[in-house]
């Protein structure tokens, strides 16, 4: 066994003598400019690729639910969507920002690169239920997000208000630049709901089904929950 020398700094070099004079050096900042960002008047510079809200290219998303499986907070739920009377072939992830930890694992795992994220991070609402709808959304197209960000460079949530009609299951996004984006949620989960199975061949049949939809959806949801 060879001896090992540990280098230990001697106490005399570390210990400082107390002083009544030296603390006065603390006054040297008195006339210097304060290092403060005056937030409402000045802007902060956010890092590039700051992990913020998600974006989703609806054309690329294949509904594989990888994001839902990797999400550590289980904030992602697949959703079956109908846009302009046309049912999307694959479910899309719906992200609940009440639970999301913004780890962006879902973005890393997405095989087609449909899920992405932007630097926006500000989402503040009051306690009202209709405002809390904002926290639960199917992300919109990244190009649209970028467009809104150029208009309002304040890193806020790109949607001003989300309306969810419980009877018709219709979701309306009132984007911040004034656009309105509407779609219908047909059901949740990986398996397609009954309403989404028949392809929208005849619009009349589609409309007839709408009346029955609420019961069907409820039935299916409870099935999913119990399973």
């Amino acid at each position: 066994m060879e001896e090992i020398d540990f280098k230990v700094a001697p106490e005399s070099k570390i210990k400082k003598r107390p002083s009544y004079i030296k603390p006065w050096l603390g006054l040297k900042y008195l006339f210097k400019k304060p290092v403060t960002i005056k937030i409402p008047y000045e802007k902060t510079q956010i890092a590039k690729n700051y992990r913020g809200f998600h974006s989703l290219d609806w054309k690329k998303c294949i509904g594989c639910n990888f994001c839902g499986q990797i999400c550590p907070a289980r904030a992602i739920e697949m959703t079956w969507i109908e846009v302009d009377g046309k049912v999307e072939k694959r479910p899309h992830p719906k992200i609940d920002y009440g639970r999301c930890t913004f780890c962006e694992f879902c973005v890393d795992v997405c095989p087609t690169g449909a899920l992405g994220f932007v630097e926006n991070f500000m989402l503040t609402t009051e306690w009202k239920d209709e405002e809390l709808e904002l926290f639960d959304w199917v992300p919109i197209h990244p190009d649209k997000l970028r467009e809104i960000n150029e208009k309002f460079p304040d890193y806020r949530f790109p949607v001003g208000k989300i309306e969810f009609n419980k009877e018709t299951k219709e979701v309306t996004y009132y984007l911040r630049d004034g656009d309105v984006f509407k779609f219908k949620i047909l059901g949740y989960g990986v398996r397609p709901p009954a309403a989404a199975k028949p392809k929208p061949a005849a619009p009349k049949a589609e409309e007839a089904k709408k009346v029955k939809k609420p019961e069907e959806k409820k039935g299916q949801k409870s099935e999913e929950n119990s399973s």
Partner: protein
């Protein structure tokens, strides 16, 4: 009679306003030392208005309410005895001992209220405050003795007048020592940092103030504002030469000029307190008592002996 009442009211109004400005200055200067921007200067006024407009007020009995009023009353009474330039009302009776003790009585009033709340933190804070009060008596007593010995009078107004001819107190060697000791004492009277053991935010969660809320706290804020004004004023009067301006022919101009000069001196006193408060950490109660019975006492006693020679 009526004129006196009006004048008293005006003095009170001025003291409250300037006191709140002082509180704002304390917050701004402390922020600048920390390289922050700090709140606007009128922030303590907004705080007090908010406190006074609270809907729920908790009270723990008669003494709890009375202690606050007692503290406020004692501070106002002390203010009335201190000459503010040429406009004070009771200055003929304002002798050093009276004012010194009236400036300490508010602490007792707060103690009454705090102790009757039954909160252990408040009791702890009250004990510490009383020990601090006890510790500052010794240098304070020597300071008064030295002043009275030097000028041959106890009257504050006569001391101010004497300084008009003889120069400020701090230009004389014995009184300079006393002034330094008094300034250290002032730190405890303001409740500023090295000796803010009785309030000790973070350590015993505001000490005596822990149970106060709403209107009680609002009145305490007003009391603190007046106390800041009165204590700086007293120091400026006895050590920095006060201000009795007779340069102008108009009495109103004279009054304004003397108030302005006093204000500058008060702010100078306040600044030292802020600087010391911002750069020194808090003493424990035994360290504070030992400190007060050592350095300020030695300084003040030396001053008293030198003044008597």
């Amino acid at each position: 009679m009526l004129m006196t009442a009006v004048r008293a009211f005006l003095i009170l109004l001025y003291a409250v306003f300037v006191g709140f400005m002082f509180m704002g200055i304390i917050r701004i200067v402390t922020a600048r030392i920390h390289r922050r921007v700090g709140p606007p200067i009128y922030q303590p006024i907004l705080d007090t208005i908010k406190l006074l407009s609270k809907k729920s007020n908790i009270t723990h009995g008669l003494i709890y309410d009375f202690g606050i009023i007692y503290a406020l009353g004692a501070t106002i009474l002390a203010l009335m005895f201190i000459p503010i330039g040429g406009v004070s009302i009771l200055r003929a009776y304002g002798d050093l001992i009276l004012i010194t003790f009236l400036l300490e009585i508010p602490m007792l009033g707060i103690m009454f209220a705090a102790m009757s709340s039954g909160n252990p933190w408040a009791g702890l804070g009250a004990q510490r405050a009383l020990l601090t009060l006890l510790a500052i008596q010794v240098p304070l007593g020597f300071a008064i003795v030295a002043l009275a010995e030097f000028y041959g009078t106890f009257s504050t107004y006569e001391i101010v007048m004497a300084q008009q001819t003889m120069g400020w107190s701090i230009t004389h060697m014995p009184l300079l020592l006393v002034a330094i000791a008094y300034d250290l004492v002032l730190q405890a009277m303001f409740g500023k940092e090295p000796f803010d053991i009785m309030i000790a935010p973070g350590e015993i969660s505001l000490g005596p103030m822990v149970e106060f809320g709403g209107k009680h706290m609002g009145i305490l804020q007003i009391q603190h504002a007046i106390a800041l004004f009165a204590e700086t004023l007293f120091f400026a009067n006895i050590f920095l030469g006060g201000a009795v301006v007779t340069a102008f022919t108009s009495p109103i101009l004279n009054t304004i000029a003397s108030l302005a000069i006093l204000l500058v001196k008060q702010i100078a006193v306040l600044m030292i307190a802020i600087f010391v408060g911002a750069i020194f950490p808090r003493f424990t109660i035994d360290q504070a008592a030992r400190f007060y019975w050592k350095w300020p006492t030695i300084l003040a006693a030396a001053g008293a002996i030198l003044a008597a020679l």
